[in-house]
Amino acid sequence: MKPATTTATAIYGRPTPAKRIEIGIFWLLRLCTYLVLFCAAFIFWDIGSKGGAVIFRSEAPFINVKFLTESPETLNVFDYQGEKRTLGDRAFREFKASHETEMKGVAVDPYVYSAGGIFPNIAGTVLLVLGSILIALVLGVMSAIYLSEYASDGPFIRFLRLSIINLAGVPSIVFGLFGFGLFVIAFDFGVSLLAGWLTLAFMVLPVIITASEEALKAVPKGYREGSLALGATKFQTIVTNVLPYALPGILTSSVLSIARVAGETAPIMFTAAFVMRDELPWQVQKWTDFIFQGVMALPYHIYVVASKIPQNEYTRDVQYGTAFVFLFTVAAIAMTAVILRQRLRKKYQW
């Protein structure tokens, strides 16, 4: 009778010390996890609230159109008849011309890039991303198809895969260095869109190849065999019975690489980005000028306004505004990819 009671007591027993330690440790783990989430959320909140104040307006059209459609300008801060005035460069020149006498001897503090907007930067980033993703996808997906469907396994292909995996881990600045040495200098493209496209494309190429190959490999072998056994050629098999099922995976990886390409600064710093350029990218004489021109880009602009101009009330708007536009654009792209991947994981489980 006695042993039975002990078992029952043990089963229904109060929390033992071990149990209490367990609860404590689990809370610690939970704390760590939520700390990470909180830190990230805080960054989004900080940039979202301060930058949002620059971008959004309380009355129609609710968006700071000027900021999104104009070029950066120098902001001039000066005392005018006892009050502080701030004017963008063009307006300031007009003002100075019309108030010549009053403006004599007035000290002016110029803050570069702090007035106007960031339109050329947005345009430049879009151009950079589109071009490089196009190049990377064509090369990457075709290479992946070759590696997954055609190449027979040998020491050379294994070496190739190894080097592709390793190149995926190479720091982006090294790709920038490579782009500078090869495209800008050896091929003499100069600081140009083309050099930036190629540099960014080759930076994400290993990632795209690896991810696409994985997506292709995930398509069951039976589909290929089934198709070939029905007399399809290899190419027909790939087009009709492999690619369509691998496409979602490839798509996810490419959306992720868009986020990566858009978010990188180091590779374009000395291959494609200009600090300041007056013309917009499409204001060119002939098409060769188009691909050989340098552009302004959002991430580089953030670097410039964060490091090259002081932090104060006059420069804060352009700094936070640019960071806001950039962060939330990249975040939206990444979010698409993350959601897409979640969906596809559920949908395609063979």
Partner: protein, 287 residues
């Protein structure tokens, strides 16, 4: 030339059945033991995966419009041989026929001039694990024709009905042709794969353990189907299940360790095998 084209004409006339087999069809000119027309001649074939030899000197002739079963314990090479017949082994790195010939209609299918795609159209295959494509039933059946460039809707419809009827599936699924094939039961999926194979009108159908993943009822249906199909097609089936071999096949080949041990009419193999190993295997003493 005349003989060749006459032979390929598949009219099952008495004449062609009685015609002497072309000399290359028999080993060393000896008369073949097979009375019916020969669909595939396997002649002294060696096969290697990389350095390891999987098949040794296999020689056998497969009769047209009959069911030939390959039996034997796991790893004996029966599936390998089957996959040699439509060169599916080409897909495996380092796998190759190192010696001998496999002839269909007198043509060595490993001849470099042979068009593999055309070969696979004529020699269809059904796999161990049913592999319907994740498309609709209709698209599955028409896949083979579409990749050959057939786009005539009426013709496709006709083929779908004919193939599904041929696979005894028409009545079960005629109302949901445009639903995903992945929603069907396992047995239906496998019969769909058979329907898909016969839609391209092959001459020979290879079946690689088609029932190994099916329950007994589905298995019975597939076996029944095989029995019907042999009126039109030459069928080669690999099976683990000896009862199945006994039930469906006309001739049986027993393989062991990459060698053909015995090949004869199924009745003979199961009732009075000439070889002691065969007897041990069919009576369930090893394998």
């Amino acid at each position: 030339m005349v003989t060749a084209s006459a032979m390929s004409a598949p009219s099952p006339s008495v004449q062609s059945l009685l015609r002497p087999v072309v000399s290359v069809g028999s080993v060393n000119g000896a008369p073949t033991p097979l009375a019916p027309q020969i669909a595939i001649e396997i002649d002294d074939v060696d096969f290697c995966y990389g350095a390891s030899k999987a098949l040794h000197d296999i020689t056998l002739n497969i009769a047209a419009r009959q069911v030939t079963a390959f039996i034997g314990p796991s790893g004996c090479g029966k599936s390998t041989l089957l996959r040699c017949l439509n060169r599916m082994n080409d897909l495996i790195d380092g796998a190759r026929v190192t010696d001998g010939q496999i002839r269909i209609d007198g043509v060595n299918i490993y001849d470099p001039r042979v068009d593999v795609i055309e070969l696979r159209k004529r020699v269809g295959m059904v796999f161990q694990k049913s592999n319907p494509f994740p498309k609709s039933i209709y698209d599955n059946i028409t896949y083979g024709l579409r990749i050959q460039g057939e786009s005539n809707k009426a013709r496709l419809d006709e083929v779908v009905e004919k193939s599904l009827r041929g696979a005894a599936l028409w009545d079960e699924i005629k109302d949901r042709l445009h639903e995903s094939a992945l929603g069907m039961s396992g047995g239906q999926q496998q019969r769909l794969c058979i329907a898909r194979a016969i839609a391209v009108e092959p001459e020979i159908i290879l079946m690689d353990e088609p029932c190994s993943a099916l329950d007994p009822i589905a298995t019975a249906k597939v076996e029944e189907l095989i029995h019907d199909l042999k009126k039109q097609f030459t069928i080669v089936i690999v099976t683990h299940n000896m009862q199945q071999a006994a039930r469906v096949s006309d001739r049986t080949a027993f393989f062991y360790l990459g060698k053909l041990i015995e090949y004869a009419e199924t009745k003979v193999i199961f009732m009075q095998p000439a070889n002691a190993q065969t007897e041990a295997y069919v009576s369930g003493r090893f394998g």
